[in-house]
């Protein structure tokens, strides 16, 4: 073994388990023949002894008790907070589910009532035409279209009577403002494309949108004017 090798691995050959027995023997032999390396080993052993003495002084060192107290306090806080948080989450979800359930049941009941009202008194929503059996006007087709929309979607159609304010109506071709004295306002839900049947311009892109429309229905049961409620 050379001096460089001895300095690199031989000084602590006894402890280094990765070295083989041959290397250890070579290190011992080198130390016995080279006075410089032997002195270096002695010096290191002296430093090692001092290090061990220093290590012994801190061998019994322990974390102060206050750290354990702080950690235990934190542990309690964390786990209590966690439990409270979990309980809060569960409660929040339960309340949300209950609210959704109540809302769904209420909506269902309301729908049933509305459908029942609609079926028992249809004349309250749409007045039957008085003398239209013999007269075929140019309003007939739009009226039929609107009626078809109402009937096809009877369960969902909203046949609420709109407010009685007459402003904002667009009169259909052939209708006159003077004829609206006894007219009633009827709110219906229809596809936007159906407005085309009234002679109104409709965007093709939005023709399939469902919208609410106020119809001003005259004495003869035919729509006189139309309004898009805000």
């Amino acid at each position: 073994m050379k001096c460089e090798e001895f300095v690199a691995i031989g000084l602590d050959a006894g402890r280094d388990a990765s070295l083989g027995e041959v290397v250890r023997v070579a290190a011992r032999e080198h130390a016995s023949t080279c006075s410089r390396c032997a002195a270096l080993q002695d010096s290191w052993q002296a430093a090692g002894a001092e290090l061990r003495a220093f290590a012994e002084d801190t061998a019994m060192a322990e974390t102060p008790a206050r750290v354990e107290m702080r950690l235990r306090q934190e542990f309690r806080t964390q786990h209590v907070t966690l439990k409270v948080r979990r309980a809060a989450v569960v409660t929040a979800w339960a309340l949300a589910a209950a609210a959704v359930l109540i809302g769904a049941v209420s909506w269902r009941n309301w729908q049933k009532e509305e459908t029942a009202n609609h079926l028992t008194s249809p004349q309250s929503a749409v007045k039957p035409p008085a003398n239209n059996s013999n007269v075929m006007t140019n309003h007939e087709r739009p009226a039929q279209s609107a009626a078809a929309v109402r009937q096809s979607d009877a369960a969902e159609a909203e046949t609420l009577m709109a407010d009685n304010e007459m402003s904002g109506f667009t009169f259909l071709p052939g209708a006159f403002a003077a004829d609206t004295g006894d007219a009633e306002i009827l709110r219906v839900r229809m596809q936007r494309g159906a407005l085309g049947a009234f002679g109104l311009p409709v965007s093709e892109e939005r023709a399939s949108d469902w919208i609410q429309v106020d119809l001003l229905v005259g004495n003869d049961g035919l729509p006189e004017a139309v309004r898009l409620p805000r």
């Binding site: 220093f54 290590a55 974390t63 934190e74 966690l82």
Partner: protein, 200 residues
Amino acid sequence: MRIAEQDRDDVLLRRAAKGDEEAFTILYRRHQAAMYRFALRMTGNTWAAEEIVQDVFMTLMRDPKKYDATRGALGAFLYGVARNRVMKHLERLPREIPLEEKNEDGTGSGIVLQDASTPAMWVEKRERKLQVRAAVLELPVEFREAVVLCELEEMSYEEAAQMAGCPIGTIRSRLHRGRALLMAKLEMLRGVPRRASVAR
């Protein structure tokens, strides 16, 4: 000696994760001293060591799933966390190395002399230990870590390499250079009072 199933670290950690304070306390008491000694020897600062130990166990408490029992012992994992904290501390405060500290009760740095038969010997030994301590703390961090792990913690080269996350050869060379520096510093410290007394 085999550790009973219910006392194994991973079992205790699982219990602690479910809120068992006693299990956490057992784990803490089992590992705190080793962590504290390592941090103290690396930083030379009791307050820093205390903070580091607290941080290590806070990490374990807040995120116990970070420890994977299949990858090694809990002690090694905690050493790794402590090592990271120590490195961060040393990066943050590279120059803050107090040589003398007071304990909670106002006494010295915790060095206890067991065989000081006379006051003169007591003073001499105490001074010598302070010099060794100062010399260790003045080593560059990588060399200091190798010296602390191999010489003070008395770990094997394999264990030290595993702890430091580097090959055995690296640990060996760091230890070699650390020793050389340490010996030079100790020689220098030894020489200063002699020269001073000669000058007088």
